[in-house]
C-alpha cells in the first residue's frame, strides 16, 4: 500500500464577517498518498481554495479553524506556529497559484526568485543556488535559460511565467505540490503544455499533487483520484474512472451533464445557485437544486456510503431503502463505458 503523507480529518473553518459566521469548510476529510494526484473540484465558493490554504497555513486573518486536524506525516499542521510553518512552506509543501502575472515579484530577477527557496531552506550558497535555478529553468522548458535567468517577470509570456512559477515551487523537491487552478489563466494550447510538464516533473521528483480546479476536462487528464466539493463539504470521492464513469451523487451527475463534450448536442444546466454558507442547509447541501431530492435530504446530512474500496458518496440515494432512480442519459452512457473498462481490465 502506498505511503500516506497527508491526512485531513473533520476539518472545519469559519470566516468571521460583518454579516456573520460563514461556514466555509464544514467537516472535510481526505488523504493524499505518495506520488499520486488528487484533484479537488467544485464551483467558486465550494471551499476548495480555502482547504488548500489551510494546508499551507495561509488562511486569512478573519478565518478560524474550529475543528479537525491536518496530519502531514506525524505532525499536525494546524498546531504549528507561523515560524514553524515558514520552514514547511516552499520546502515540504509548495504551491502554484492561478495567476502567473501576480504570483511573481516584478522587481526581482527570475533567477533570484527561483534560487531564493534554496538559499532560505536548504542553505545552499548563492552561486550553487543560481546554478540549480538554471538547471531547473531548462527542465521546465525555458529556452536560452543562460540569458533569461537575469530577466524580470514582465519579459516573459503568461505560459513562460507559469513555467517559472512551477520551477520555484519545485526547486526544493517538495513532498506535496498544491496547484490552485494553475492553467485557468492560460490558452488551451499553452495549458496542454503546462499540464504535460507537470506530469513529467511529478515523475522525475516523485512529488504528490493536490490539483484544485473547476475544469473537469483538466481533471480527467491529470487526476488519479477526485474529490467533489460542494458548499464546504466533500460530497463524493473516488478514482478518476469511478467519478467520471460511475458517479453516484446527483451534484456530480449535474456537473458532468452541464459540460459540453465535443460531441454533445444538449446541455443540462443545474438550476439555481449554491446555498448561502452564512446559513448552510442542515441536510444534503445540494437539496435545493437536486431534482432527485427526497424528504430526508432536507432534514439530515447523508453519511458517506461505500460504493467500492476507493469510492464513497454522501447521498441518501445510496441508502438501501432509497427508491431506485434513473440518472440522466449522459450518466447512463458513462456507466456503460465504466462497465466496458472494468470488463476490459479484468481480462
Amino acid at each position: 500500500m502506498a505511503e500516506r503523507i497527508l491526512d485531513v480529518k473533520n476539518l472545519k473553518i469559519d470566516f468571521h464577517t460583518y454579516a456573520g459566521e460563514v461556514k466555509a469548510i464544514r467537516d472535510v476529510s481526505f488523504h493524499l498518498d505518495k506520488g499520486e494526484t488528487l484533484a479537488i473540484v467544485g464551483e467558486s465558493g465550494s471551499g476548495k481554495s480555502v482547504t488548500t490554504k489551510s494546508l499551507m497555513g495561509l488562511l486569512a486573518n478573519n478565518a478560524e479553524v474550529t475543528g479537525g486536524s491536518i496530519m502531514f506525516h506525524d505532525q499536525d499542521i494546524l498546531k504549528k506556529s507561523e515560524k514553524e510553518m515558514q520552514n514547511i512552506r516552499g520546502k515540504d509543501i509548495a504551491m502554484i497559484f492561478q495567476d502567473p502575472m501576480t504570483s511573481l515579484d516584478p522587481t526581482m530577477r527570475i533567477g533570484q526568485q527561483i534560487a531564493e527557496p534554496l538559499i532560505k531552506h536548504k542553505h545552499v550558497d548563492k552561486k550553487k543556488a543560481w546554478a540549480q535555478a538554471l538547471e531547473l529553468m531548462k527542465l521546465v522548458g525555458i529556452t536560452d535559460a543562460e540569458e533569461r535567468i537575469k530577466n524580470y517577470p514582465h519579459q516573459f509570456s503568461g505560459g513562460q511565467r507559469q513555467r517559472i512559477v512551477i520551477a520555484i515551487a519545485l526547486v526544493c523537491y517538495p513532498e506535496i505540490l498544491i496547484a490552485d487552478e494553475p492553467t485557468t489563466a492560460l490558452d488551451v494550447t499553452i495549458q496542454a503544455q503546462i499540464l504535460e510538464l507537470m506530469k513529467e516533473l511529478q515523475e522525475k521528483i516523485e512529488t504528490s499533487i493536490i490539483f484544485i480546479t473547476h475544469d473537469l476536462g483538466v481533471v480527467a487528464g491529470m487526476a488519479d483520484r477526485v474529490a467533489v466539493m460542494y458548499a464546504g463539504q466533500i460530497v463524493e470521492y473516488g478514482t478518476v474512472d469511478e467519478i467520471f464513469f460511475n458517479p453516484q451523487h446527483p451534484y456530480t451527475w449535474g456537473l458532468l451533464n452541464s459540460m459540453p463534450t465535443l460531441s454533445s448536442t444538449k446541455l443540462e444546466a443545474i438550476p439555481g445557485t449554491p446555498p448561502d454558507l452564512l446559513d448552510p442547509p442542515k441536510g444534503d447541501p445540494f437539496v435545493a437544486r437536486n431534482p432527485y431530492a427526497m424528504k430526508i435530504d432536507a432534514e439530515q446530512r447523508p453519511p458517506f456510503f461505500k460504493v467500492s474500496e476507493t469510492h464513497y458518496a454522501a447521498t441518501w440515494l445510496l441508502h438501501p431503502d432509497a427508491p431506485k432512480v434513473t440518472p440522466p442519459d449522459e450518466i447512463i452512457r458513462r456507466r456503460q463505458t465504466f462497465k466496458d473498462i472494468m470488463a476490459h481490465r479484468a481480462i
Binding site: 464551483e43 467558486s44 503568461g158 490558452d187 488551451v188 494550447t189 499553452i190 495549458q191 496542454a192 499540464l195 504535460e196 473547476h214 475544469d215 473537469l216 476536462g217 483538466v218 481533471v219 480527467a220 487528464g221 478518476v240 474512472d241 467520471f244 464513469f245 449535474g254 456537473l255 458532468l256 452541464s258 459540460m259 459540453p260 463534450t261 465535443l262 454533445s264 448536442t265 446541455l267 443540462e268 444546466a269 443545474i270 438550476p271 445557485t273 463505458t337 473498462i341
Partner: protein, 319 residues
C-alpha cells in the same frame, strides 16, 4: 441550409491596426472576411491575442477600421453620418461583455442599468411603462421582477450576466455580440446562461456573434465557426465540420488541446503540434480564404487547395 439566407453582417477585408506607421505597429486584425447570416450564431474562436475581441469591437464600431469595410444589413457602418443613423445602428446591434463584475455600474440600480437603452431610445412613454418593460426583461432572463431596485453587488456572477443580457435585449436588437459571455462563470452556471441565450435566440430571432476561447462551448452554441490566429481568419465552416473535419493544421492543433471530461479519452489524447512559420506569405502567391468543400473555407495558397480537398475527401471516406 439554403444558400439564399439573408446576410445580416458582411465583414470585408477588415484590417484593424494600432500605432499605424510606428515601430510598435500591431496588426490586431489583418484582412479578415466573413459573413453572418440572419438568425444564426457565428462563433469566433482563437487564443488570446488572436484578434477575436478586436474584430467584435470593430464590428460594433468602437474602432474606425484601418482598412476594409463592415456592412450591417447592407449599410457600411463607417459611412453612417447623422446622429439618427448611429442611434438606429446602436439599437440594432448590442453587446454582452465578458466580465459581469466590471460591466455593470456599481452605483446604479438594476432598473436604471437595464433601462439606459430604453431611455436613450425613448422606448417608454412614462415611468410606469419603463418599470414594466424592465420587469418583463428581468423575468425573460430568469430573474425576479422585484430585483429591479437592487444594486449589482447584491447579485452573483451568473445573475449579473443575466442582467447584462437583459440590458442588451432592452432595445430589441437584431444582432448581439457576446464577447466571452460565460468564461467568468462557474461550470454549472455557464450551461444556464448558454441555454438562456439559445432560448432567447429562438424566441426573438436574434443573430449572435459569439466570441470565445472555450472551444467545446463554442461548438455547442454555434452554427458556424471562424478560427482566428495572429489577426488572421484561418478557417470557416459549420460547427460540425470544423470539429469533426478540421482542415487547417492550427484548427486541428487547437481542438486536440481541448481537455475533455473523459479519462479514457484523455489517456489516449495526442496533442497535434502547429508550426506557424510554415505559413509564410509570398506576394506572388497570396494566402486567402478559399472554399475547399461547399461552405468550408481555409486560408491557403492556390496550390494548397488540392491538398486540402484531398484531406476533406479522406475525412469523407472515413465516415
Amino acid at each position: 441550409m439554403s444558400e439564399k439566407r439573408k446576410k445580416i453582417l458582411e465583414v470585408k477585408h477588415l484590417k484593424q491596426y494600432f500605432n499605424v506607421g510606428k515601430a510598435d505597429e500591431v496588426r490586431a486584425v489583418d484582412d479578415v472576411t466573413f459573413d453572418v447570416y440572419e438568425g444564426e450564431t457565428f462563433g469566433l474562436v482563437g487564443e488570446s491575442g488572436s484578434g477575436k475581441t478586436t474584430t467584435g469591437r470593430s464590428i460594433i464600431h468602437l474602432y474606425e477600421p484601418t482598412d476594409g469595410s463592415i456592412l450591417f444589413e447592407g449599410r457600411d457602418i463607417s459611412k453612417l453620418k447623422t446622429k439618427a443613423e448611429f442611434l438606429k445602428f446602436r439599437r440594432e446591434m448590442q453587446m454582452i461583455f465578458q466580465d459581469p463584475y466590471a460591466s455593470l455600474n456599481p452605483r446604479m440600480k438594476i432598473k436604471d442599468i437595464v433601462a439606459e437603452g430604453i431611455d436613450i431610445h425613448h422606448l417608454a412613454k412614462n415611468d410606469a411603462e419603463r418599470s414594466k418593460l424592465v420587469e418583463d426583461l428581468l423575468e425573460t432572463v430568469g430573474l425576479n421582477r422585484d430585483h429591479s431596485s437592487r444594486y449589482p453587488h447584491e447579485f452573483s456572477g451568473g445573475q449579473r450576466q443575466r442582467i447584462g443580457i437583459a440590458r442588451a435585449l432592452a432595445v430589441k436588437p437584431k444582432f448581439i455580440i457576446a464577447d466571452e459571455p460565460i468564461s467568468a462563470l462557474d461550470v454549472s452556471i455557464q450551461a444556464q446562461v448558454v441555454n438562456l441565450l439559445k432560448d432567447l435566440q429562438r424566441e426573438h430571432g436574434l443573430t449572435y456573434l459569439f466570441i470565445a476561447h472555450d472551444l467545446s462551448m463554442v461548438k455547442y452554441i454555434s452554427d458556424r465557426i471562424g478560427v482566428m490566429h495572429y489577426g488572421k481568419l484561418l478557417e470557416v465552416g459549420t460547427a460540425d465540420e470544423i470539429y469533426a473535419h478540421p482542415l487547417h493544421a492550427y484548427t486541428a492543433s487547437l481542438i486536440s488541446a481541448v481537455p475533455v471530461p473523459d479519462p479514457e479519452y484523455e489517456r489516449n489524447r495526442k496533442q497535434l503540434p502547429y508550426d506557424a512559420s510554415a505559413e509564410q506569405d509570398h506576394p506572388d502567391n497570396p494566402r486567402k480564404l478559399r472554399e475547399i468543400v461547399p461552405g468550408h473555407f481555409v486560408r491557403c495558397t492556390e496550390d494548397e487547395v488540392a491538398t486540402y480537398r484531398k484531406k476533406a475527401e479522406e475525412y469523407k471516406q472515413q465516415a
